[in-house]
């Protein structure tokens, strides 16, 4: 049985979760459109389908907590507070982008938001998350580090090195595995001997649990509990959120390796309409309220696209800037 929403959070915040998920979805779908128009180039990995993970998890963290992620991170940055227009401008390669157009889709970063980067080397963020967590502890900050990664990243050496190390040094890191069951075109059973990913942590004495990553409330509750554990104990914790991406790995992937039936099954579990249904069924919002939220998100993303389009390109001299301090 599903938990009654009002037991978990006040109405205002429940609605905010919906707004953030909708904003993330709208942002990604407009990215796809802008890619097709040739305004966004390079690699573009969209998050559609996985929104409940970023939104539920970020809501459960403190604003001071570090977030670090991989290359499918637009939603994580935006949910943390990055302006959609500055993220869109980054994807357009414009000087007004969140990283001045030097990072692109896979390398969003904003220290003012404690959003410590998107990394495009699978598994590259694990060790960095440990260093951030060590620095926080050393400086006496009440801050944990949430490290997001995919099911494909758990077979990198850095994953195993970092789990061992995080436990050994007793670092306040919350590992969040977004298991969408595929690393590009390889299904998890084809790459992992133990596909039940959260069970791997017993080798490192790190507690772990699995959560339904299509349910924003389930993610929120699990991360809330886990983050408190990490904060109290100073020790790492591990969450595996099972989820699904509705699009291909990147824009260049038609996704032929997944069956229509599988796709349909996961589509029926789409976190957005399901959560909207719960909000209305429990009398937290009616369709009019939701429509207003959706219209607001659409306007924000439209504004982001316009901003990106109208923004200037980086100056040629900027190519030499920011290599050294």
């Amino acid at each position: 049985m599903e938990t009654k929403l009002r037991i978990v959070l006040p109405d205002q915040q429940l609605l905010k979760l919906y707004e953030q998920m909708f904003l993330a979805r709208e942002f990604e779908e407009r990215c796809a459109e802008q890619y097709t128009k040739g305004h966004i180039t390079g690699f573009l990995h969209l998050y559609s389908g996985q929104e409940a993970v970023a939104v539920g998890a970020t809501a459960a963290l403190h604003r001071d907590d570090y977030i670090i992620s991989a290359y499918r991170e637009h939603a994580q940055a935006i949910v943390r507070g990055a302006e959609p227009k500055r993220v869109m401008a980054e994807l357009f390669g414009k000087a007004t982008g969140i990283c001045k157009g030097k990072g692109g889709s896979m390398h969003l970063f904003d220290p003012a938001l404690n959003f410590m980067g998107g990394y495009a080397i699978v598994g590259g963020q694990f060790p960095i998350s440990l260093g951030l967590a060590f620095a926080s502890r050393y400086r006496g900050e009440d801050r944990i580090t949430a490290c997001f990664f995919g099911d494909g990243a758990v077979n990198q050496g850095t994953f195993h090195e970092s789990l061992n190390w995080a436990r050994l040094w007793e670092l306040p890191v919350l590992f969040v595995c977004e298991n969408n069951f595929y690393g590009i075109g390889t299904e998890v059973h084809r790459s992992s001997a133990l596909a039940n990913i959260h069970k791997r942590t017993c080798g490192y004495d790190i507690p772990s649990e699995k959560v339904d990553g299509m349910d924003v409330i389930a993610v929120y509750k699990a991360v809330k509990y886990a983050a408190e554990k990490v904060r109290e104990s100073g020790l790492p914790y591990f969450i595996e959120a099972t989820t699904y991406r509705f699009r291909g790995h990147s824009m260049s992937d038609p996704g032929k390796y997944r069956s229509a039936a599988e796709h349909e099954l996961w589509k029926s579990r789409d976190p957005l309409p399901n959560y909207a249904r719960r909000l209305t069924e429990e009398g937290i919002a009616d369709r009019k309220v939701l429509d207003a939220i959706e219209a607001r998100c659409k306007a924000r993303v439209e504004e982001a696209v316009q901003f990106a389009e109208q923004s200037p390109w980086p100056e040629d001299e900027q190519v030499w800037e920011d290599i050294y301090v």
Binding site: I98, F109, A133, E161, Y324
Partner: protein, 328 residues
Amino acid sequence: MSEMNYRDALNLALKEEMRRDPSVVTWGEDVALYEGSFKVTRGLLAEFGEERVKDTPISENTIVGVTVGAAMGGLRPVAELMTVNFALLAMDQIVNHMSKARYMFGGQTFLPMVIRMPGGGGSQLGAQHSQSLETFFMHCPGLRVAYPATPADAKGLLKSAIRDNNPVIFLEHELLYNSKGEVPEDPEFLVPLGKADVKRPGEQVTIVAYARMTVLALQAAEELAKEGISCEVLDLRSLAPLDEPAILASVGKTGRAVVVEECWRTCGLGAEIATRIFENCFDSLQAPVRRVSGLDVPMPYSRKIEKLCIPQKETIVQAVKAVMQGKY
């Protein structure tokens, strides 16, 4: 001034910077309790305690990545990789992360960190423990690379590296740890990164060298002086950024250059330096630039043939004489 060896000079640099700045921390394999496999971190655990001097697992890539994260999080970490050979396991964090985090994040972060690594050949440690990989790091934008030849430079450069806000690869030559020299005691004694040093002034040939090659170049210059050949020995000290003005000024004066490199010859730093000389002071050259290099082979064990693979005083002397005779 007091006389000390290269190891103790490095040790003193670490201690002084850790005393001066509580955000300086250090870690690596066998660094704390065992005090370093080359004993560079002797006494640090006792003085600074477990939270500032830490042993790590044998996980090189993660050692560098943790250091990147700690620097991003506001510390000034100094990591030790047991030897440069093991840095190859950490090239992902060094090249893909440490060197470019600042750039790809649009200048919104900086990494005040140092990765120390002993290296170089000549101790019959075989192919996997005798490498000179300095060129690998020089090739990558975003890194600073230092490689001192003397105890004084070792101390002054390491202190500058720790205070610098860029990531620094700090190379130490294993055969120099016991070498002695005068070292300034002033805790504010710094050697700037990116500045070469004329270790011996001369008129006819510039020998460009670094680290242990500088020591050999000085011995060669001494011998050549007895035969009436005046060599200027330019010790690079920093390999990135290269002190190109110093190289060009010296070669502009002498008109001849020999570049000595311990690394492999192909695409080595000698090729880079010779090219810069040709590009910029072709007109003042009286002979082509010559390179004295490590042989392009995996290092053999047997000391009889290992010697062939590393520049020696004699090979430098021969190269200088060849340049003097205009032979090529």
